[in-house]
Subunit: 780 residues, 2 copies
């Protein structure tokens, strides 16, 4: 059971708490309370083991492919978290004995996981435990752990097994060669692993410190090496009332780390550096290392914090929770890595990057940490050769981005999914072949980043090339329909993945059109104003030819229009002709995908049912192409047919509801969206966090209720505060200037706190404003 209201004082609305131990629902808090820093993600499994636990440690970018039948994935690295705790000869487990007190907190402000337990064993002996843990934002390699055990009403012998366990797998898949195991000075444990295909070295080091009643003690441990495993066993004698403090400081380095991924790399150097680092850090002890982590987080909070004064305290916590996860999911330190669809919190989606990044997550960074946004877009630039290989392999030109992307940018979507209940075979996953809108999604994000930040250097180095080569892909992808005398895009999957092999998915067609149109615009602009830039790109991309094709084709692309009778835009050529069934059984279920227990994919394909927003996303991205009337009509048509079986769906609907000025509906959808991971569904996060949904929470607040939008290169702020909120304060960066925006029901207050530009111009409900220091605009 989760509580959101247990933070007090400084930590009010900063703490997510679990107040009951439930061994059936371990996955929930393992995911939502995961720790991380973008370099690594550590699932919050408990120190002691339970059946059904999933222990995961992922290091961003360290992809490995087990064999030619499986796609590459982030390997589950060695575990340093497990402690094997024996008390008076019995193994400590909360499933046995009696739990007198239980509470586990994730403090998102300090990024610490804290578990406080009072437990009585079957003999009536009581013990108080305080477990603390963090993954440092200061030293990205570092994991700190501290356990305090107090023997409350008896003497106790406490034996602890602790070390480094490389037996971990990804659901049974072993990605590592076993490397050397070593114990230095009976004190520093080291384990090496090397990925089997990508040949990335991992080095783990760990060390321990012990104190009784605060007094540090030395211990000669029993040393053990097993297969892929090195650990020590230490035994302590506590007298009644005494407290054992057990600290474990660990680190992990890999040869994929930027600092080591070069020609002169040597494993010996990596081992030495990492061990030295551990020795240095461990001297400081948990408390100091943790303090360093907290002050690093404080810097982030200063930059990103949003204040929501709401009837429901949960809302404030929800946005902080989103912020926390946005930071820990993002490999901000390295532009060769993307954000994974489950972050670094679970095996789901194998660490791959989807459109989730560009459409759902990136806007937070673009508006808040533009440098990180740039790094994430550089990841797409760094993988563009993979996208070009994909285009060529499919008979197209330009850059065709993969639906799922890992380290190289080659397509890595798996081919087989869940059971087909009709055939008894695995269902074929078509996304890697025909879910193609990702290419324009990335182009869109490039453009959005450029417009919001004004980062011309990025465009010159990477952005134009990406815009042009994606347009070239689309131009080659278009299919001429002789009868209609227009270009179609056939046999695709749009955002709504319950419709496969459709022709002219509205979102896909509009975005392809936008992509080519935008390329044309920038081609012409560069030609006129910066021919030297164009020339360089021309040499590489043969742009003059490409431009010819773009301009010949762009106006002949078929863009589905609202039907006259009801203004509904056909999601694709056949959606509106399909069977309509009663969806009550499948809508608003705690479990997603329940429709597949009655229908297989082929059957679902023939029903007017959508997994998620499709036309709605189009309205959001190309907002000013569609009237409020059209938006409302399509909402009314499609939403009842949308199961929200994708976590991407609710936040989009929430923003659209704000756009349609339906604040009540928007708030209701926000409350649902904010609970996708944080809420009471105890199974939905088992395979990891829904990172796009986390990005969606931020967008719902800032772009939905805050009304922030970049439209045709201009800033617009149309706030739509829900009645439950009294005040909303958020920061955004616009063209290098930090704005602090305060929204109440009465006013919009914009404060420009930096001086990159003399003034910032923005539109509020149709009126143009400008601000050079601060400005209050009445909203009534």
């Amino acid at each position: 059971m989760l509580r959101y209201d247990l933070g007090t004082g400084e930590y009010k609305n900063w703490i997510v708490s679990e107040v009951e131990f439930n061994p059936h629902h371990l996955g929930k808090c393992e995911s939502i309370m995961a720790l991380g820093n973008g370099y690594m993600g550590l699932r919050s499994s408990t120190e002691e083991s339970y059946l059904g636990q999933v222990r995961n440690l992922f290091i961003a970018g360290t992809f490995n492919q087990f064999d030619e039948y499986e796609v590459t994935e982030l390997p589950n690295a060695a575990d340093v978290v497990e402690l094997d705790i024996w008390i008076n000869g019995e193994k400590f487990s909360l499933e046995k004995g009696k739990i007198i007190h239980y509470r586990r907190d994730l403090n998102v402000k300090t990024a610490e996981l804290i578990r406080h337990v009072i437990w009585e064993n079957r003999r009536g002996e009581q013990f108080e435990f305080l477990f603390r843990r963090f993954v440092s934002l200061k030293n990205l390699h570092l994991i700190g752990m501290k356990m305090e055990v107090t023997a409350l009403n008896s003497d106790a012998e406490i034996k602890i097994g602790s070390g480094i366990n490389g037996q971990m797998t990804n659901t049974g898949v072993q990605h590592f060669h076993e490397g050397e195991k070593r114990i230095f000075d009976k004190k520093y444990l080291q384990l090496l692993q090397k990925t089997t295909e990508s040949k990335i070295d991992f080095v783990f080091n760990t060390t321990h410190r012990y104190a009784i009643d605060g007094e540090e003690i030395e211990k000669d441990p029993r040393m053990v090496m097993g297969r892929r495993k090195v650990f020590i066993e230490t035994t302590f004698q506590l007298q009644k009332g005494q407290k054992l403090t057990f600290e474990k400081i660990s680190n992990v380095y890999t040869s994929r780390d930027k600092e080591y991924d070069h020609e002169n790399y040597s494993l010996e150097q990596l081992r030495e550096d990492s061990l030295n680092n551990l020795k240095e850090e461990a001297k400081k002890g948990y408390d100091q290392l943790f303090a360093e982590n907290v002050s690093e987080w404080a810097k982030r909070w200063k930059e990103m914090e949003i204040t929501i004064e709401s009837e429901n305290d949960f809302d404030q916590l929800a946005i902080r929770f989103a912020h926390y996860h946005l930071i820990i999911m993002t490999p901000a330190h390295d532009n060769r890595f993307g954000v994974a669809a489950k972050g670094l919190t679970g095996e789901g989606y194998k660490g791959h990057s989807f459109w989730d990044t560009e459409i759902f997550i990136l806007p937070f960074f673009t508006y808040t940490f533009p440098k990180v946004a740039r790094s994430l877009l550089e990841y797409r630039y760094n993988t563009i050769e993979g996208a070009r290989r994909k285009a060529r392999a499919n008979g197209y030109e330009g850059a065709m981005y993969p639906w799922e992307s890992a380290f190289t940018g080659d397509e890595v979507t798996p081919e087989w999914g869940a059971v087909d209940i009709v055939t008894g075979k695995a269902t074929k996953i078509w996304c890697g072949f025909i879910e193609q809108h990702i290419t324009s999604d990335i182009a869109y994000a490039v453009w959005q980043y450029y417009q919001v930040t004004g980062d011309q250097d990025f465009m010159d180095r990477y952005g134009y090339e990406m815009l042009f080569d994606t347009a070239t892909f689309w131009a080659s992808r278009l299919e001429w329909n002789e009868e209609k005398q227009e270009y179609h895009i056939n046999d695709v999957i749009g955002p709504d993945e319950y419709k496969e092999h459709v022709n002219n998915n509205a979102f896909t067609n509009y975005m392809a059109h936008w992509n080519i149109q935008t390329a044309i615009r920038y081609y012409e602009e560069l030609k006129q104003h910066r021919p030297e830039i164009l020339e360089k790109l021309n040499e590489k991309l043969n742009l003059d030819d490409a431009y010819k094709k773009w301009t010949e084709k762009v106006d002949k692309i078929y863009l589905p229009q609202p039907r006259e009778e009801d203004l509904v835009i056909p999601q694709d050529d056949t959606y509106l002709t399909k069977q309509i069934i009663d969806l009550t059984k499948y809508k608003n279920q705690t479990q997603v995908g329940t429709i597949f227990e009655d229908y297989n994919m082929e059957q679902v394909n023939n029903i007017q049912v959508s997994k998620q927003a499709d036309v709605m996303v189009l309205f959001y991205l190309l907002e000013n192409k569609f009237s409020q009337e059209v938006k409302r009509a399509n909402w009314n048509y499609y939403e009842p047919k949308t199961l929200h079986d994708s976590s991407l769906s609710l936040s989009t609907h929430c923003i659209l509801a704000s756009d349609m000025d339906d604040r009540e509906l928007a708030y209701e959808l926000f409350e649902r969206a904010a609970r996708i991971d944080l809420g009471p569904n105890m199974k939905s996060s088992d395979h990891g966090m829904h990172t796009a949904s986390i990005g969606g929470i931020w967008q719902s607040v800032v772009c939905g209720f805050g009304g922030v939008r970049m439209l045709d290169g201009k800033l617009r702020i149309n706030p739509k505060l829900p009645k439950q909120w009294k005040k909303l304060v958020f920061p955004i960066y616009w063209r290098g200037d930090r704005l602090e925006v305060t929204v109440t029901h009465e006013t919009l207050h914009v404060k420009k706190v930096t001086n990159e530009n003399e003034k910032v111009v923005f539109e509020v409900f149709g009126t143009i404003h400008e601000v050079s220091d601060e400005k209050t605009i009445p909203l009534t």
Copy 2:
């Protein structure tokens, strides 16, 4: 807690029982109660899962090498045993609620595992479970399971998840590519796996049947496919007092099966055949399939049964338990496979064959199932090319058998072991390099088999070649010592593995000498009587040259002699000069290897301490080379220095004690040897059964107390019944004739029940007897 006395009536002394569930000691009964048939071995993990369980299913001969850093091992195949049982919304686990009754039996007569549990959940609802399981000796591919659940005092909703789980690993090492998953007719589940290196296809099929109160019911299950996993979920409503019967019949086939391991093999055929087999078999239902298994076992029991009338019923059970494991450990169906050091009951020793087979296990088969013994020796013949490669790689000639052998006969001993407490590194394992006596052990077994069975066909086809080429190896291995003018064998490990890099290990030298001497004898015999056989071998092995070398060298081999002062034979050149320490702390411990918690291997090497019998084994194998006086003197010297840290040690000492006519000591050692797996040490069998020790139990009974020995090609029976035994009845085959031997304190009765030869000649305490029907010989 184990009980041995719960079998009654027909099953008295046939049943090993566990009467208390202890989650800390799962490994014990998983191993000792393992099921199998030589084709496969299934560890007896419970249906419901527990932390610390080790689920193992091994298929003989299906070795796979994970990578170039690890040696090949038997891969842990998919699990079909686990059932995920939910009762009224709570997962069934004996760690929760209350156990009202618990008993698990392995019935070694019927080879069935039966678990009877009455359990109360935390709400006070009581359920009675009866789990039954067998691995068929009739259909080697088949695993049958049956569960009955009765709702004793409430209605109940019972949900069962069941299927095939290919996520299994060997301690984290995944040996399989994921293959296709399929559900046919919502009823037959199929999972394919393929080993990654050896490319062996595995096909698993499983199906279920359900009945309530004996009435069969049909159910449409929920079908689920996960990664490497296919299963179904079925939900049943029981009214108070009703009983659910849940049957699961599974099978496994592999492309290494003799029937499929040929050029025209197709996976499609394997899938079809295996599925058809399952469909046919499943129709019969558990009870009939089990009955077929029981009657197959009855045939084995008829052949091998031994009666022990003892003060201690345990002794009768112990020999039956040994018989049971000797059958299930041995791949009698296929002469390409050997017996593994842990049988098919655990990951320990990776499924490799050691000298354990020839010296400890094979005698049982040679004397009881000569055909199986031949098959096991053919395995060594089939792998002789590996032995030749090993010889060449080490600069020797002939066949140098690997210390550890898998499918090809190449050396597969791992290189690194447990931690070195001084250096903190893994300890180097030298056995694969220098524990070389295995080669003469195999030669010895060939000779023993030949002499006991008189199987000339075996010798002609395989035996002579093995004897000659092993002798050639030894001749090339000998090192000339100029000073002493004799041949030495330096830098070896003898049977006592606590002495590495020693020169002139007595056992090694004597057995090498014996090996060459025996080859000379047969060369000369063939030359004289069957030159055509010799000629054929000569072409292949260049025997004339070899013979020259044998004869030149054999008499110059240094054979350590008893010291004049105390008749002690030096175990090697330096043993007797090493430090003597107080070993009390390490001797007779429940855990083995405790000396390594205080010393590392280098230090142990310099202490007069032995892991196991060394000179004793020599006395056993070459019995009539040594006087009783010498045996006793060496016993008195070495035994106090022997920690029996190898499970091979006690049975050898037991037999030697019998040979020395110390019946009390022999019985005491028998009791200890018989408890290596079966006894109260709850951790020692975690990694699998000690199969050599199991073979040793049989040898202790038949060769020790029964006094059976083949000496220089003659049968000798010198029974030495311990005072606790009234009668011992055992069968042996001698030159094709079955003898039934009955020993009491007063008489030896030998009955010849077959008529292969007119009479059988044997010696009893120095007197020659012969038997053509039966004969009673007084012993007093």
